[in-house]
């Protein structure tokens, strides 16, 4: 019999987290977004809180490794990303020995989930080349290959990315659900509950693979604009890639990704298990995310970011995407100009001045407010390594 017990906590989404808008959101003075409703979290009690839990061993530290050779003619170089990841792991941990570096986060008895981002495959998704290097790093600690699981919520998106074929033999590759309405892969006892728009199902459940299938998670997000959240990076990949029924948090033109993303990431045992974040920035989607296939908006940024603090990493990611959008003449992701909205998806995918929602990049600072990391740019320790 399952002897777990659960506790309900409430997050005053609109009040406690949004107060922080004054300090962090350039858009707040013109904000037109209604306040978020209260969000209730039901999570297990008695979970042993890990000392590695987010923001992890290195709060506020972001290691960025760039190498223009990492992506050439839209192909990611295995050899180059290997060197980038090795340099990044050493810099993050201060360890000269790579095995020691990986060993800061993993033990041989761990079952390790690699949470990839295949949405947007094949144009922009977690590169199989980087996933293969992470697998090698995990194995270096003595973890058997069968205890490494590459996963995401949607199996069909992983199929399009051909991850099954491209990862080493023995690694398990699994999707939590096979189609949109399949809830069998989710834990009915761990959920976030809120009524955003009068939807009939007001709960989002945690994936079993996170709740009970793995002991550690390495998060492998991509670097992308997101039409509702502002950007999708560590937090969005982890939160919305762990809980189901998340599309309901946005209905045009409004989005409650702020604060839902941060609240989901703060839910145990997800918060304790996500010990390392390796952002694939070989490609950057600066408009049309998360699903665009339009190569006009996909930039070969040629970088990888490594850290344990998802808030700090997403803050840097946001800065980079804002910078690229500005350079390309696209509106800020903080824009609240109703003229930039369109209800035509095709127009959104072709025109960088248009969007489907008022984006909510403030979800990053809100997650910081929940204790998941550092969002103050002045405090973030951004270490940059340029290889070539």
């Amino acid at each position: 019999m399952d002897r777990r017990t659960f506790v309900k906590r409430s997050c005053l989404g609109s009040l406690a987290l949004s107060l922080d808008h004054w300090g962090t959101s350039p858009a707040f003075s013109q904000d037109v977004i209604p306040p978020a409703p209260p969000i209730h979290v039901t999570e297990p009690v008695g979970v042993q809180v890990s000392p590695l839990r987010m923001p992890g061993l290195y709060p506020g530290r972001v290691v960025e490794i760039s190498d223009a050779r990492s992506i050439v003619a839209n192909r990611v170089s295995q050899a180059v990303v290997r060197e980038m990841l090795e340099r990044g792991m050493r810099e993050l941990t201060g360890e000269k020995d790579l095995r020691q570096a990986w060993g800061k986060f993993l033990q041989p008895q761990d079952v390790v989930g690699l949470k990839i981002n295949p949405s947007g495959a094949p144009a922009c998704c977690s590169s199989p080349e980087i996933v293969r290097e992470i697998v090698a790093g995990v194995q270096s600690v003595g973890i058997p290959v069968r205890n490494i699981i590459v996963y995401d919520r949607y199996a069909y998106e992983m199929d399009i990315g051909s991850y099954q074929t491209l990862v080493p033999k023995g690694v398990r590759v699994t999707g939590v659900q096979e189609n949109k309405l399949d809830a069998s892969g989710y834990d009915p006892d761990i959920f976030c509950e809120a009524n955003f728009f009068g939807e009939w199902e007001t709960r989002s459940y945690m994936a079993n693979i996170v709740a009970s299938g793995v002991t550690k998670i390495i998060n492998v997000p991509t670097m992308k604009d997101h039409s509702a959240a502002g950007v999708t990076g560590c937090l969005k990949n982890l939160g919305y890639g762990t809980f189901n029924n998340v599309d309901r948090s946005h209905r045009r033109p409004f989005s409650f990704t702020d604060p839902l993303i941060g609240i989901m990431c703060s839910t145990e045992p997800l918060r304790s298990k996500a010990v390392l974040h390796i952002m694939d920035g070989t490609r950057m989607v600066w408009h049309g995310g998360p699903l665009t296939q339009n190569q006009d908006f996909i930039f070969p940024a040629g970088l990888i970011m490594v850290g344990t603090d998802p808030v700090a990493m997403d803050t840097i990611e946001l800065e980079k995407i804002e910078g690229k959008r500005s350079k390309e003449g696209a509106p800020s992701v903080w824009s609240r100009d109703p003229k930039s909205l369109t209800s035509d998806g095709a127009e959104f995918y072709q025109d960088a001045s248009k969007n489907l929602y008022y984006r909510q990049p403030h979800h990053i600072a809100a997650a910081g407010k929940l204790g998941l990391g550092v969002s103050d740019r002045k405090v973030i320790e951004h270490r940059m390594i340029r290889i070539s």
């Binding site: 192909r75 495959a121 199929d159 051909s162 099954q164 074929t165 491209l166 990862v167 296939q293």
Partner: protein, 334 residues
């Protein structure tokens, strides 16, 4: 698989006529990734709920269904009155095509998404455990297995004495069908989940390195290569002097089979991972929508939004097109 082992597209050619209505529609338990296959009056459709479904095409009703121990991604094939398919628990199962009762099963050590191929009284299949297997078609008794360098999701092409298959290690392998001995291997720049097509002298296959290859079937030497925009999972189809394949960039390419020169390219939109099916002057393709294109120039003749689809290919007959949507909807269009 897909009508014949040569992957020439399946059924005999018919005059083009756009489907006008749905003859029947049935909803199966579980999502569908593999392609349906047709023999006689039964349409066999695998599902991720672990069922092999046999649908009577006259009534559109389920005649029987067989519960496998795990999800079925593998497109079934036919041999000696049996339906063969691979399973996510590593088994390949043969069941009686008429009754749905199990004849035999054989186990590998990891999932089998590739189609088992019947030839020379044997059944050949690759597994994610990295082995190619040969078993007796009558009993499933093992004949040989051969370890390759990576996971195998490519369905093999089996000629009388040769096997050709792509592998996750990025190599295309030519093997002896009788012994499993590797006769040659040719490297590409990334893993391969595409299934090869073969004409008399050449092997054709795409790779995740964005390149489509023509190889000498005897030696594995590269005859020509053609660069696409993104990775290639879609198995090619051959019609006369043309070879067609889809690319994940959402483009369907038609090349001169002898030179690799592009004859036409058609932008479909969504990522293509399914094989095109050629029927006379028409190419059928599922990539989100279902498309019919003109074989001579790639022009879209007809399209319909019939259940989003990944990896599946339609069955085209004289009067009816059968196709599977990703969510488990099966359509008969006439």
């Amino acid at each position: 698989m897909l009508g014949d082992n040569a992957r020439s597209g399946g059924q005999p050619s018919q005059t083009w006529r756009a489907p006008r209505r749905t003859r029947w529609q049935i909803s199966l338990e579980g999502a569908v990734r593999g392609s349906p296959i047709l023999q006689g009056e039964l349409l066999y459709v695998p599902s991720l709920a672990g069922f092999l479904n046999a649908i009577n095409i006259r009534s559109g009703r389920l005649q029987w269904r067989f519960k496998a121990p795990a999800a079925i991604h593998s497109t079934p094939s036919l041999s000696l009155g049996r339906v063969l398919f691979g399973c996510d628990d590593g088994k390949v199962i043969a069941i009686d095509a008429a009754t749905g009762t199990k004849s035999w099963e054989v186990a590998s050590q990891d999932e089998v998404w590739a189609s088992p191929i019947f030839q020379n009284e044997s059944v050949y299949f690759g597994s994610a455990d990295g082995n190619m297997y040969a078993v007796r078609a009558e009993s499933g008794a093992p004949q040989w297995k051969q370890m390759l360098g990576g996971r195998i999701y490519s369905s093999a092409h089996v000629a009388k004495r040769r096997i050709y298959v792509g592998c996750g290690d990025g190599n295309i392998y030519g093997m002896d069908a009788a012994t499993g001995q590797v006769l040659w291997k040719t490297a590409t720049g990334n893993g391969i989940d595409c299934s090869p097509a073969v004409d008399r002298y050449s092997v054709f296959i795409g790779s995740q390195d964005f390149v489509f290859y023509s190889l000498d079937a005897g030696s594995g030497a590269v005859l020509w290569r053609y660069e696409a925009e993104l990775g290639i999972s879609s198995a090619p189809a051959i019609s006369g002097d043309l070879i067609l394949f889809g690319c994940k960039a959402g483009t369907l390419h038609a090349l001169d089979i002898r030179t690799g020169k592009m004859i036409w390219k058609s932008r479909i939109g969504q990522a293509i991972t399914a094989p095109p099916v050629i029927n006379g002057s028409v190419v059928w393709l599922q990539a989100g929508f279902t498309f019919a294109l003109n074989l001579s120039d790639g022009r879209v003749l007809w399209k319909a939004n019939l259940g989003n689809s990944v990896q599946s290919a339609p069955v085209v007959t004289k009067d009816v097109v059968y196709l599977a949507g990703m969510e488990g909807e099966i359509y008969a269009l006439e």
